[in-house]
Amino acid sequence: MIKVKVETPGQVVRFSAATDKLYSKVEGIYVSLPKDESHYNTTIELRIAENEVFPEGFETRLLATNQSASPNERFMMFDNDELVEAAGSIIEGRFSDGGYTDGIVFPYTANIYLKLKNVQ
């Protein structure tokens, strides 16, 4: 899980992390924000192992679900044979808050969950 702290409305936060070396593949991704309304206009740009996964302007709400989905269903899954390499890969991203403030408390923390798998 990658935690991104957003201090102010409209803030752009760059983040980087590394995947767990014990797992070979990123299978899916899920983005969770404290309030659903925080997803309005909010975007994420993501690269894993120097490969573009989500381009600039990709809305986080396409990587989220409401709470009626079971935990396993919340992930946006990559295709079975699509290799998004884990094994210590560098993750680089840019999280852009959408600037919606009605009922949103700042600062808040965005959680980015990666589902990892070890493929032999």
Partner: protein
């Protein structure tokens, strides 16, 4: 590799033989609507490394100060591979709920000719209004979930 369609299987196999990796690429078309009933023409060159597209999703970006959900904010029509296929003509709606249970792409199965154009239009329906009936400008993202060769 989950293929766009079976006839592409040979093509993908050939790419693998030459050590070309097939990777996911999202292609985003952003439409800005400022006037009621506005029609925006779409004409973009698809990056040449994209070989096929397998999903489409279109939605209003961000928040609209409407008092209710809107079933039909506008409609869009897309033609791929410089006019050779017309995979979609569909409506775009707006929900006040920012999240649905699962945001799924509508599956399509279209090969993209290298360097070809994606064209079409978006037409506003004039239904994006606030409580006083005043039109609300908005933006729409049309996402194409594609495969590219690396």
């Amino acid at each position: 590799m989950e293929l766009c369609f079976p006839t592409l299987r040979t093509f993908i196999s050939n790419l693998k033989m030459f050590n070309k990796m097939i990777i996911r690429r999202y292609f985003i078309l952003t439409i800005t609507i400022t006037k009621k009933g506005q029609t925006v023409l779409i004409d973009r060159v698809v990056p040449s490394h994209i070989v096929c597209c397998k999903g489409i999703h279109a939605s209003v970006i961000g928040f609209l100060a409407t008092e209710h959900e809107i079933q039909h904010v506008g409609e869009f029509s897309l033609i791929l591979s410089s006019g050779s296929v017309h995979p979609i003509h569909y409506s775009v709606g707006y929900s006040k709920q920012p999240l649905m249970k699962n945001n799924r792409f509508m599956p399509i199965h279209e090969e993209i000719a290298s360097g070809s154009h994606i064209s079409g239009f978006y037409q506003d329906a004039g239904t994006a209004k606030d409580g006083n009936g005043i039109f609300l400008p908005y933006r729409v993202n049309i996402y194409l979930d594609c495969k590219a060769q690396k």
